[in-house]
């Protein structure tokens, strides 16, 4: 048990941080939801950062650290699926990735070269041709797209589908962790600067305690995400995604409450993080889906058609 980063992990994180700083500027003219940065994506490609999970000295844990850091940026790009899921799929699938669940619009679908398609219990992979996907307008702050019916799917075996779900959970948790930290930082900044009744809002205990609880939750999400990336354990992945969605549900509400009307404007960037979080809340079945996974992997609840296992 050692929570210190290795020198390789530190070096990677430092390089990612240096890169991220160039994209840190909060947009003043952007009044939309999905702020996509092709430049960021290109830099990550050129720096071969999408392959860090496959480098033995770095591995998925380093990838999770990178995902978390990059998720704190106001802009987004397809990062987590490529970094964590792509290396775990059988075969070689080109990035960027998109995700479609049960026929709904999904993240990055319109620009993806590979789409992971979840339909009930099955997980498939597809490489859509031009015209088989389309962008959709969305309140969610990722570029959302729809896959048309009839796209040829390669269905994954049950084992590979399990692996894909596991890494999707870990990717979700790592990205959620970064988004939560950025959203909290927004709220802290506002509470520090905004004064009412002659003092900063952050000096009122009612708000301080709510923020402190949110910080504790966000910190827990981070540790669970990193652990799951480090162990690649099914139970850890399920717990990480569960805690991520559970905590995000609460924190999204609280940070918007802290920013009040200011957080409702498109001028303020808070929504760039909270409306990405909202997209992640529904993935993999939402909290109900994670509950099933935790019940199965931590408590030995039976998968359909199988006897339950005793635990602990």
């Amino acid at each position: 048990m050692d929570f210190e980063l290795t020198s390789d992990q530190e070096a990677l994180l430092s390089a990612i941080d240096k890169l991220a700083q160039r994209f840190e500027t909060k947009p003043t003219e952007f009044h939309g939801f999905a702020l996509v940065s092709p430049e960021l994506e290109r830099e990550l490609e050129e720096g071969q950062y999408y392959d860090v999970a496959q480098i033995p000295e770095l591995g998925p844990l380093a990838a999770a650290l990178a995902i978390e850091r990059l998720a704190r940026l106001p802009c987004t790009a397809e990062i987590a699926l490529s970094m964590l899921l792509r290396p775990q799929l059988p075969g070689d699938w080109p990035r960027p990735f998109g995700l479609v669940e049960n026929g709904r619009p999904g993240r990055f679908v319109a620009s993806a070269r590979t789409i992971v398609v979840i339909d009930g219990d099955s997980v498939s992979v597809a490489q859509p041709a031009a015209g088989e996907v389309e962008a959709v307008d969305s309140l969610l702050a990722y570029p959302m797209g729809r896959m048309k019916v009839g796209v040829e799917l390669t269905r994954l075996s049950e084992a590979d589908a399990g692996t894909a779900r596991k890494w999707l959970r870990i990717a979700l948790a790592a990205e959620t962790s970064g988004l939560l930290q950025a959203a909290l930082a927004c709220a802290v900044e506002h509470l520090t600067l905004r004064k009412q009744f002659g003092r900063p809002l952050g000096a009122f205990q009612a708000l301080r305690h709510r923020m402190a609880e949110c910080a504790v939750l966000a910190g827990g999400v981070r540790w669970l995400a990193l652990k799951a990336a480090g162990t690649a354990d099914e139970a850890d992945a399920a717990l990480a995604a569960m805690h991520a969605q559970e905590s995000a549900t609460r924190i999204i509400y609280d940070v918007h409450q802290m920013l009040a009307a200011m957080g409702m404007t498109l001028e303020h960037p808070l929504h760039l993080w909270t409306y990405r979080l909202k997209a992640l809340l529904s993935e993999l079945g939402g909290r109900g889906g994670q509950s099933l996974a935790v019940a199965r992997h931590c408590f030995g609840a039976s998968a359909p058609g199988q006897p339950s296992e005793a635990t602990h």
Binding site: R208, E246, V294
Partner: protein, 378 residues
Amino acid sequence: MDFDWDPEQRAFRATVRDFLAAHLPPDWESLAHGPASAAQSAFSKSFCGGLARAGLLVPHWPRRWGGRDADPWTAFILAEEMWEAGEPRGGQYMNVNWIGPTLMRFGTERQQERYIPQMARGETIWCQGFSEPEAGSDLASLRTRAEKHGTAYRISGQKIWTSYAGHADTCFLLARTGAGKDGISVFLLPMETPGITVRQIPSIIGEGDIHEVFLDEVTLPADALLGAEGQAWEIARTALSLERVGIPRFALATRMLHRAVETLKRAGRFGQETFAQAATARAACEAARLYSYSIIDQRRHGKTAGPEASAARYATVMAERLVSEFVVEQVPESLSGGDAMLLAHHQRAIVAGIASGAAEIQLNLIATELLKLPREPR
């Protein structure tokens, strides 16, 4: 970053588990109910004596005092296993964690020789005389007075919520020798000293847990003073840094959650309607565990944990609450004679956010020191 235990840590945990399996009596779970009952207190002395003989009571202490200078992970693995088992050390966990080490730092040679060896042998119980009727979270406002008369101190006042006082041999007592925060001193008070009255407060936590301690002109020699007059704040800060993460409550909470789930499974009641609540609680337990580990890891690397320790503590409070709520809703029969250990856990869990300092104080620290929010006006 590595989330796995090394072989030595695994072996140590296995040794502690083997010891527990061999030394906890068949009726331990009933005994664990009532964290400081007469039966539990008596058992803790024989149990801790055995732990000491096996080298498992104070492995992290210096060799001079019966330890082997083991690292903070060893101490924490030990604490996890003990708490998960229902804490058979009773109040002696305080000796091991902070009272002993605090005496090593601030005690005179004579005080150390008098108190530390008996702690290392596992044969003495301490209580901490901190809270008073008018001084809880605001400890600096305590009123118990120690007045010097020649070479002796005469102490009068009242302590309250004092855990383990009913069977304690010695009290780590805070009393006022002057004005303000810098006018508080620490005394090592033998509980058989005339003038002390201990009254148990019947509580929902269980038998023997909390007490009132009345001090009526209790006379102590000058060498009962720990450190210098007015040094209590510094001494308490040291004690607190040794006890920052506190009890690894998440360990028993996790075990009890699994136990509740197994109870439901046996009854055919672990269905989808219970999954969300169980999963939320399980994730919170794991978050608390990792948070606590991160603090131990900092200590292991020679760093002093900052406000993250408060966050770890609060994460534990959240986990305890969720597990308790799960048991109340899903396995209510355990609170009506169904399962002594689930009952004992439920009774102890309620104090998670209260004992060792209110959770709201931790939230204040997190807001100020971790989030860097502006301070509240005073």
